[in-house]
Symmetry: C2
Subunit: 233 residues, 2 copies
């Protein structure tokens, strides 16, 4: 979209609060070998929690580089808080969903256990998805990672501290999902086989039914289209 002249690097909140950061291993190879950053390079460090700072290179050795942290940098996170609550799709589709949700600035992706969902997520797959989110955050220049969690039982959604505005995507609904807005919102995206009647009854109590076109969208397509709409403006 635009020349990404600044390299972004995801560090821990503790590192971002300090004065120096040492870059080793894979991030070192990516920045100082593949991208060939030189001693006069300026980087943007982000902590995954919405804070960003500029940094300059102090030293580059053969295996590590040291950076000095500078002033605060723009976070480039959307102000609206949007959560995606999705019936867990297959791993490759979940990966794509998390990458795109991170780029768009979604605040959380929660994977739901559902009667007709393909399969759940586990600690290992969440770890992989977190690495994908980290890479996407560095690529797009945001500062806040989406929270990733699951599997959540539909009967236990109250444990999630949902925003007041919760939408349920349903092709049979009459109202379209509204674009834009400021208030925190969550979107429930069911499995391609649909929610069971029991699940739908439980969800109807907390959610407003809306539609996103007339077609049967895949879980990740519906989730990303909904995120794009809610984060518009």
């Amino acid at each position: 979209m635009t020349p990404s002249t600044t390299s972004n690097l995801l560090v821990s909140p503790a590192e971002l609060a300090g004065e120096r950061v040492v870059v080793e291993g894979e991030p070192y190879r990516h920045l100082f070998r593949a991208r060939r950053l030189a001693g006069d390079a300026r980087l943007r460090l982000v902590d995954g929690e919405g804070r960003a700072r500029w940094a300059e290179v102090v030293t580059i050795d053969r295996r590590r580089a040291e950076l000095r942290l500078l002033a605060e940098a723009p976070a480039r996170d959307p102000s609206r808080r949007v959560e995606l609550l999705v019936a867990a799709p297959r791993p490759e589709r979940a990966a794509w969903l998390v990458e795109k949700a991170t780029e768009l600035g979604v605040a959380a992706v929660r994977f739901l256990a559902s009667e007709r969902a393909v399969r759940g997520v586990d600690a290992k797959s969440l770890g992989r998805l977190r690495r994908i989110a980290g890479a996407a955050l560095e690529q797009c220049g945001g500062a806040r990672l989406p929270a990733l969690s699951g599997p959540h039982e539909l009967t236990d959604l109250t444990g999630l501290v949902l925003p007041e505005r919760v939408y349920l995507l349903e092709p049979s609904a009459t109202a379209p999902l509204p674009a834009g807005g400021d208030e925190a919102a969550a979107v429930l995206v069911g499995p391609e086989g649909g929610w069971s009647d029991e699940e739908l009854a439980a969800l109807n109590a907390t959610a407003t039914r809306v539609r996103l076109g007339q077609r049967v969208l895949r879980v990740e397509t519906a989730a990303i289209a909904a995120a794009a709409l809610l984060l518009a403006g």
Copy 2:
């Protein structure tokens, strides 16, 4: 999203205009082996050009089935015509883009040659993308396939018969891409390395600059988010 009780089958416009259709090969295996459609099944046949008809099974043999065409069926295509003009991304990302664009009901995906684009598309990759679009159309229940073409030279966009409304996504623009609307629209999505100055000068003459958030989105993410916005409502 909702139980897809009806199986959709993409056939040629000539077949859809006839009275009987013979199903063989891969579609036969998918419908009558994997999905185990029986003699009382009702199908929805679509021609990829926006027409759909119901069909019933006449005979199922070991290698083929014969369908009888019935009344017109709903097309489930968006009324707005939206085209995506994108700097060609890597093959796997192009595949995702085409799948998602098809699901959302985009009318065309045109791949642009660009100085900083990763690579172009060729006849072989367009053929693969057309098969992906066909599968996505059957899955989502639309009736119109997106036109897929390229590579197009930026200096030769006039050959494309663009709609009057052409948006150029640029993170530096001040106006956001507007959601919803009825008039035909096209969106230009540049490579992640950005357009060159020459390219930008050529595009500025025909397009309105708009932005989609403050981040550097990947080509396919920007394209799908833009399609979701333009097709909203």
